[in-house]
Symmetry: C2
Subunit: 649 residues, 2 copies
Amino acid sequence: MPRVQFIPEDVSILVEQGESLLRAAILADVRVRASCGGDGTCGKCRVIIEQGAVDARPSSKLSDSQVAQGYVLACLAEIHDDVVVRIAPESRSSALATKPASRVANTVLSAEDCAARVADDASGPAPIGKAVITLQPPDLSNNSSDLTRVRQAMRRQRGIANVAVPLPALRELPDAAREGDWTVTALLTQPTESDAWIAGFQPGDTSSRQLAIAVDIGTTTVEVALVDLVTGAVLGQAAEYNRQTSRGEDVITRIILASTEQGLSELQSLAADTIAELVETLCARAGVATHDIMCYVAAGNTVMTHLFFGVTPRHIRAAPYIPAASEFPYAHARDLSLPGGPATQLLALPCPASWLGGDIVAGVLASGIPWRDELTLLIDIGTNGEIVLGNKDWLVACSCSAGPAFEGGGILHGMRAAAGAIEQVRIDPDTLEPTIMTIGGVKPLGICGSGLIDCVSELFLAGALARNGKFAEADSSASIRHGERGPEYVLVLAEESGTGADIVVTEPDVENLIRAKAAIFAGISVLLECTDVAFEEIAEVAVAGGFGHYLDLERITVLGMVPELDREKFVFIGNSSLLGARHVASSRRMLAMAKSVSEKMTYIELSVNAGFMESFVSASFLPHTDARLFPETERLLKRLREARRVLKR
Amino acid sequence: MPRVQFIPEDVSILVEQGESLLRAAILADVRVRASCGGDGTCGKCRVIIEQGAVDARPSSKLSDSQVAQGYVLACLAEIHDDVVVRIAPESRSSALATKPASRVANTVLSAEDCAARVADDASGPAPIGKAVITLQPPDLSNNSSDLTRVRQAMRRQRGIANVAVPLPALRELPDAAREGDWTVTALLTQPTESDAWIAGFQPGDTSSRQLAIAVDIGTTTVEVALVDLVTGAVLGQAAEYNRQTSRGEDVITRIILASTEQGLSELQSLAADTIAELVETLCARAGVATHDIMCYVAAGNTVMTHLFFGVTPRHIRAAPYIPAASEFPYAHARDLSLPGGPATQLLALPCPASWLGGDIVAGVLASGIPWRDELTLLIDIGTNGEIVLGNKDWLVACSCSAGPAFEGGGILHGMRAAAGAIEQVRIDPDTLEPTIMTIGGVKPLGICGSGLIDCVSELFLAGALARNGKFAEADSSASIRHGERGPEYVLVLAEESGTGADIVVTEPDVENLIRAKAAIFAGISVLLECTDVAFEEIAEVAVAGGFGHYLDLERITVLGMVPELDREKFVFIGNSSLLGARHVASSRRMLAMAKSVSEKMTYIELSVNAGFMESFVSASFLPHTDARLFPETERLLKRLREARRVLKR
């Protein structure tokens, strides 16, 4: 990864190949002005390349002489090599550091890092894979059936005593056996050590071709990974909106639609279509045949998992909130209209409870909790915040309805994390001037979850928001005005927005976010209280969630969403649901562990928990009503208040 | 059953309600003339009702005064009550008795008789049936999934530890559970005591509606029984030609056609269509819904069973004669286009070897052999003669290719046992005048297996056929003439036949029948030799076969098809394949016994057995080259020879 050094701040950061210089500055908390979202039109983010080079698109905002001096617009400059950069004086935003001195980048664990935390005994044969067996050729003195030969070979060569061969596989056997000269590859589903069923036969040894599809079925986004089961390599990964969103954005709307047979079938098809397109694209790109997909492993919340299988979720909606199933049967890909061969199987991670799905079970696997002695807190941030506390011996979980704020829902100018969404915000604590970065670096259309978190956190640090989430009257400035809905912060002016209208953050928006973060913090508190664990006893906090790419530990801490622990204790593990599904696709023992995790997990139903409401109310402040829980944030707030007082003199 | 007494012969016989008087006379071996097959046109079978009454259709062949005297045509008279009958003098055929003095009717075992021979421990729950379970209603303190409740109920209420619920059933569960107020009926497949899978759910208690279809898939004829699994009653039974015969009459032709995927699929569809039509007719007649069919249990020879499931039989044809499977997996009726509900399952009796099918395993069950200490010989007569010898401890079997003669194949005027087929023949040992009865009592179109057996046996007893099957020259008469193919016996003259041409039996026809019967006798001999069992040690001979309705023990003995044992040792059990399939549909233990029978059965491959050819050659005479094996037949022949000599003087 190339390193960017900002001078004179002397802050360095490692970034991905091709990352924009503006994004690098924001990530490094080096203040640079930018109001157009990153499409080069505001021309504010001027930087000077001091050493090395960047791949910069030309801009009419820069004069030839500036270009000659090494000026580029940070938003139009892609980083490919180490580079030393100076922010142009006119582009420099506040000199006030809103960061604590101990500022470190998020600790992001890669899939490989995560996999390394899983004990060796969790590896092993895939639950669905291939077994090459050599059948005894028949003669007149040994004229037992082809199928009997398969059973003998499975027992002798694989130690599998009970083999079921359904009709479609049996139909393939006679020709496959002779074409392969009595060597056949069995497409094997092996739920236990001694039992297996064979979904198909191929002539000869085809064991080098074994693919799996891991799927994270999110309410909003579906993400798919194409895995080579032989090498373990991920051949591709892609995400797309869940097409079900066209029929309702939230889970409840979809449950209602799924209450009729037609609606259920429609939602099942929409999910399948979403996945099918992603899989076909990934396979085409990787140059592999969908025919060689051995299995799909799906992880989703309980409602999404029901819809994926076409099983009605409607009894989840009303008390006593009963799912049809917590473990789903193996199914055929063809029965759900998913790409694959005739033997392609489908399995899903178990869903421990109506509001606790296979996604969180997958997350527990991905985080490595079931192999750790130390206490780990897993927080999966999405429409529902799912929280798990435990170690290899016990697991307690809850799901708190954070509401759609993290995904831009219920926010005046909120939107999903799509092109044009403001996903990062920095605000000059002195002038309240915003610096924004949009997804895709295009004109801003609205604000998504991480952008809102940034914005509220920055406004709070800048003193513009009071602890109760109201705009501080003393701090009214050009950026804060009284709109139709009361006070609001202007993030983007109409002339720079892609919608032709101002993009603002209102007090109700802030309230929504505070409610969401309070739900998560309260969930954490209740879990700790129920288990009599103190914050300090947590050895690690694993933060998961698809949208966590630009989520920033400092800012979620300042909001009071997560407890203020040693920064070293926090790790970001990205889409842990997808990662867990990948684990299960690769190892039968992982599947067994998923079942064990699902059964072991004690679910705390927050809606009937008295302590939760109390904790939620206490957490509905910035960062919290109990300041002692956030000492470092309090110190930072005090330091910034004093710095502003100095500036104002 | 009404009793018919013939005077002055003083022979009585019990017959089915509605049986014709002509048939009763033939069965009782009371000689009456009849040449039109039973449609009333020859007017020869005049009888006088002396006591009681019959239901007689009027005939122009009788004068009013005759009618007033009690004359009826025997072929047009249906028996409903006890009756005493005298054959009119002009209708009386020979006075020569061709029967031994000890003449008794065939001992025909009904399905109930057969079932009584099966030990009690073979009854029990059906392999596929319904289980009514009461689920624990959920509340907030017990919010486990619907499926979990099913598993609990199955364990606690049924003692079934492992329950698999495939996706289609899971989809039905949530609504069924609530509609039935937490009582549901599970459509259950239970292969073992502790394991089950549930193919569907119905709300409430639907256990009173449980149907099964037993199917005998014959190469030529498919016979189906509709069984009420709750009461055990047979609601209907019907047979139809296997539509596959349109694509080839014998098994080998069908194997060749099934060698292509298209041919295989076509043959599978033809068998399914045959069965589907029978099932739909039976259900409509019985006023039950095909939806309530729990399962099909099919018994057929190995090739027919393969074709039924759409599994290629082509490797059965050439050495080393390997079937794809001997046990077939449970399948879905819908996958084979058979009528039923979404959960209707399909199972087949195991086929022990390529030329030894599930039909004979079913026959073994039906005959009761697996529960008997005594040695039983089972002979199933069809295109292939299948022979089993054994008791509850051991079973040895062989299959001898009798050829199609028993089903009218390879015979000049042969036909299948359909309307118009001459199925019974009596021949006056003095004049050689034939008395014939056709299926359906219509004008004769040809001769079927039992008719040919009767005809050849009668000709032999009448001295018209020599031991080698050639027409005896000394006996040439009006009925035996020299045709294009050598000497032939005229059974029906053109003016009385439905084809407008003479119906004859030729020497090659006789040769074919002798080859067929010799194959069976040789098969029996080889089995006995292999097992070192003497004829006398056999406690019972069970004769099975769909066409055995009017098969006569004396006549098959005279031919030398079966050994000459005490008549009391012989029982006729009809379509034992269908009966065995009915047993399996009703009891899981019967299915287990079928598997045990299939595994236990030692198969003697006759095509590579030196002794078989030798036995076959020895048996290719009437009744056998070794006269000592048939002493009673020899005595009868001698008596008849002398009687004829007396008549000729």
